[in-house]
Each structure stands twice: as structure tokens, then as C-alpha cells.
Symmetry: C2
Subunit: 331 residues, 2 copies
């Protein structure tokens, strides 16, 4: 078994110099550095912090894998996890992987190799579960749900109830011609929200009118233009999330269509921007703080269990602000 002193001896330097070269914490002359690296390579000596963490029970590291750092929903989740991690003495490594399952797998693999204490992942790829299920560290899905449940735990909220709530609110506000901007229907949560809207339409004998849109500003702008052409009589719009609702408002504002007087508008998520912009957005509130906290607790508090598919479902609530108005209300 090779130790740092033997490497130092072989390189003709002090053990402190070997440590400096490995950790990059102080300058070492190029010539000494080359000798140390040669000795390290020759002996396969791996002494650094990461290597040591492989033997420790806990690396005090949490991985967070999200599909888009540009979606404020996920940056809020990340921020809550970061704060909670700091309180408990953990570091967080964040991986922004898009919808790319290969990047999700590489991120997961790297975090496992780093001996992370656990990974929180928001994914829309059902197949990522195959890999996640095999990991020897806890993996918790947040805002993700799949037909099959093969990983440790799923923290999400009642999307279907949210879809119903949005439609029922617009009906209470007097809308008779509601269009639902659906999220991509391969995503479980987007599908559940749409189904909530659909069922309320059927119960009230309203025509079901939808367009489909990615969770993205620009897609929201284009889709709103299209929606107004396809459904010129629209008097209420349910956006698939707040970001798209903000895009929708932008187009309506540009066309001098008054919100909520001519068209009422409701979003989904209740990201911080929803109450920062003017007018403030009526939306379906996800308890983001509670969801992120729960995901962290599942990793920090619990040992890896053999139980799979634990589901923790949070309720959503309606938050009425300035983009909807009840009939006869003088607000």
C-alpha cells in the first residue's frame, strides 16, 4: 500500500509538496510538480479529498439534477435545497441537463462516483428510473412522476386537482370560452393538469379547447398568437405554467386586450415572478418550499431503504391575484 511519504520519497520532495500538487493549494515549481506527477502516476497513488470521500460514510454532498436552470421553478427549488444543505453542513452540486437522458445518466453516475449522500432529480424521462433504481445512494424525484415507480421516492403535488381548480376558478369568474395551453403531454404532470381541465369542461358542458406548448417563454409567445387566431372568442386562458402565462400576458398586452376584463388568465406553479410582475398573476400554487424541504429530508434523515416508490403528494391551492376577476367584482 502506497502512502504519501513513499510518493514524496520517490519524487525527492516533501510530503507537503505532494499534497500541494494534488490539492492545488499552493504553487509548486514546474519541475518539482512534474516529478510529483510522475511518482503519482507510477504508483497509482490517489490520496485526495475526493478519493478519501470514497471511504467516508458521507461525502456531505447532495446532487441536484434539473432539466432547465432557466425555469425559475427549478432555481427556486435549487435555492431552497442550497440553503437547507448549508444549514446541515452539506455541499450541493447542481447539474442542468435539459431533457437529455444521457446527460441525466452521466450526472447521476458522476454523483454516485463522488459518493454523494443522495441525489434529487427532476426528470421527464421515465427511463432514468432504470439507472436511478440501481444506484446505491438515495435518489428522490421532485416534481416528477411516472406511470411506474421504480426509484426511492417521489415528491410532487396534486397536478390533477390543480387543473380542475384553474378551470373551476375561470368558470366562477364568468368565462364560457376557456382555452387550456397544455404542457407537453408526454410529461405526467402536464397531462394530469390537462385532465383536470378536461373533466371540469365535461361536467359543465363547456367545449374543450386546447393548444400544446413547451414550458418556455418563446414557445408561450408563439402559442398565444396561434391561440388567438384559432379561438377568437376566448375569454379565459389556463397556461401550463407561470412562465408561459407571463408570455401570454405579454401578447395580450401588446394587442391591447385587457386582462382580466376581456380575457382572464391563470398560471401554474406560483414562482416568485408571478407576484413580482405587474399585473400580479393569478395562479395555482405549488408548495415549492415544502416540496424541496421534504426531498432534502428524505436524503438527510434516512438511510437507504429497500422500499421503492414512496410517494409524497402535496396539495395545491388557488392564489387569486390580478389577472382574474369574479363576475360583478369591483376589484
Amino acid at each position: 500500500m502506497i502512502n504519501i511519504r513513499e510518493v514524496a520519497k520517490m519524487a525527492g520532495v516533501s510530503p507537503a509538496t505532494v499534497s500541494r500538487v494534488i490539492n492545488g493549494t499552493a504553487r509548486v515549481s514546474a519541475e518539482k510538480r512534474a516529478r510529483v506527477l510522475q511518482a503519482i502516476t507510477a504508483t497509482d497513488f490517489v490520496p485526495n479529498e475526493v478519493a478519501r470521500s470514497l471511504y467516508r460514510k458521507s461525502a456531505k454532498l447532495i446532487g441536484l439534477i434539473i432539466p432547465s436552470i432557466k425555469n425559475p421553478y427549478f432555481t427556486q427549488v435549487a435555492s431552497i435545497i442550497e440553503h437547507m444543505a448549508t444549514e446541515h453542513g452539506y455541499r450541493v452540486f447542481l447539474c442542468d441537463v435539459g431533457d437529455d437522458i444521457e446527460k441525466e445518466e452521466i450526472a447521476l453516475q458522476t454523483l454516485v462516483a463522488m459518493n454523494a449522500d443522495g441525489v434529487i432529480i427532476a426528470s421527464t424521462n421515465e427511463a432514468i428510473q432504470d439507472y436511478a433504481a440501481m444506484c446505491q445512494i438515495p435518489v428522490v424525484a421532485i416534481d416528477s412522476l411516472f406511470a411506474t415507480k421504480r426509484i426511492d421516492a417521489y415528491v410532487y403535488c396534486d397536478y390533477y386537482a390543480g387543473g380542475r381548480m384553474a378551470a373551476e376558478h375561470l368558470i366562477e369568474c364568468g368565462c364560457k370560452n376557456i382555452v387550456c395551453i397544455k404542457g407537453p403531454q408526454r410529461i405526467f404532470s402536464a397531462k394530469a393538469r390537462y385532465e383536470g381541465y378536461r373533466d371540469v369542461c365535461r361536467e359543465h358542458g363547456l367545449r374543450e379547447q386546447t393548444v400544446t406548448c413547451d414550458y418556455d417563454f418563446k414557445a408561450g409567445l408563439a402559442m398565444t398568437e396561434q391561440l388567438l387566431e384559432t379561438f377568437p372568442g376566448v375569454d379565459g386562458i389556463i397556461a401550463c405554467n407561470d412562465v408561459v402565462a407571463i408570455s401570454t400576458y405579454k401578447i395580450l398586452h401588446r394587442k391591447h386586450i385587457s386582462v382580466p376584463d376581456q380575457i382572464q388568465l391563470i398560471g401554474f406553479d406560483d414562482i416568485e415572478w408571478a407576484s413580482l410582475i405587474s399585473p400580479e398573476l393569478t395562479t395555482i400554487t405549488q408548495p415549492i418550499q415544502r416540496m424541496a424541504t421534504k426531498a432534502m429530508e428524505l436524503i438527510i434523515d434516512n438511510e437507504k431503504t429497500t422500499e421503492k416508490g414512496v410517494e409524497i403528494v402535496f396539495p395545491v391551492t388557488l392564489t387569486v391575484r390580478e389577472t382574474t376577476k369574479k363576475k360583478g367584482s369591483c376589484k
Copy 2:
């Protein structure tokens, strides 16, 4: 020198099983797993991907250290870096560290230990340079500047010119009573922007009127309330960044103060939200795409050099949208 076959032999399992235990890529029975871990501990064998990356010239990993994931400026930077990294076959690990120098150092240390190919850091702590300068991997500061320049490179933009440009634009728009919402003055870029405003005031014989505000929504709301009480005659506001400008607009809108008719408003950065909200924000545009691309190029294209303190300064530009209006303009 211990290899995987010897560990497998000691544990009485196949080398594939040792690999599975280490990489967490497949289930191994608890009993076998315990034997493998015991053998690994006994031999100090460190074979995994991270360990191997220590010997490779490149870990194909870029670290990005930012002060706040909730500031859209930094999520845009992160998104650009992520896309560019993918194109070039790198992974990115993002660390959200606040203004906490200890967390910055831990993040940097971990990335060095992981043999990252380089680190891009946005920091307001001048002292982080002491640590960064000692790292044996390239470290590039982005949107950060200090009186002393002790690390490899600094990619930033001409903040002073931006401060001047904002003040000159409001003067051209007919403002005579301009208030500058300064960012925290310990931050080099905030100070330079303020100095640009100050010098223009002096040249035009205008009174210098300022408040100081953190780069944060909530701080912006409170500071705008205070600003309106302190300077009731204000007809132009320069916000320290776009996020604060959006907070400022919110308060003005709530108080039924028309923008730009009664008060003209200009931000700084030109984050994507600046053109997404309604009305669209007049602002000083930082070339975020070019800055982030340059920072990545410095890491991907270049070997570590002995040269320190390379400065790459980008120009800023005025982007006039809907929150300012020139005198006599019918826009």
C-alpha cells in the same frame, strides 16, 4: 499496487461485482457488498471514475461558481456555459455559494480535487483570489473585478461607461431629477456604474441623488418606497440591475405613477426578463452571451499559463424599450 482483481479475490467475488459496488450501477446483495467494501477499505483500492479522472489529463469537467441562482443574470450565464460545454463534450457542475467566501473556497477545492478542467467564478470577495491564484487549474472570473488582479483572467464589461450611458440617456429624455439606486459599493462593478452616473451629474450640473440597494427583488421594493419618500420630485430612476428595476416598476405601478410619463426608468444587464415583462425595460445591455462564451474559451482552448490578470473587457450598449421616452417623442 492493488488492482480490481486482487480486491475481488480478497472479497471472494467477481471483478464485475466489485465494479458494481463501487459505481452503484447494479444491485449487489448486502452481504457481498459488505465483503467488497471491507476489501476496498483494507487495501485502500480506489478504482472509480473520479479516481481515474485524477490520472487523466482532462476530467472533461467545468466548475461554475455563482453567488445566486435566483439572479437571472447568472442563470443565463450558466445556461450558455452548459450548452457550450455539451458541444465540447464537457460536464458542468454548478455551485450556488451566495457571497460566502468559505463556500466559494470549498467549491473551488472540491472542483480542484475532482481534477476539473477549469473553473468560472463570479465572486464579489476579493480574497477568493488568494485561493484561486494557487489552484493548478485555470480559474476565470466573470462579471467580477477587483482592485488587484491575482487570478488567471477576468471577463467583464465596461460598467463605468454603462453608468454614464444610463445617466446621459435619462438626461436626453428630459429628466432633471435623477435618482441612482446604487448596488452595494463594496462590489467593484456596482461602484463603477455609480461613478459613471456621478460624473455625468457633475458635468451637467445636476444634483447627485442616491440610495443603496442589494441586487434583490425584495430589497428593490423596499428601497423604491424609501426613494419616493426621500426624493418626491424624482423624474428618472437608474436601477442597479434589471431585477431591481422590475421591483421599482412594480411599486410605481402600484402607486399609479406612469412610466415613462411621470418617471422614466432604466435598468442594467438586459436579462431575458427585461424584454419579457410588460412594459419592456429600457436597460444597459451586457453582452452576456459573448462574455460567457469567452470565459469558456479561456478554459477549453488554453493551457494553464503563468500569466495572471488577463482582462477581457466587453463594451455595453444602451437598449431603449418602453420605460424611457425622449422629449417630444410620440412613442
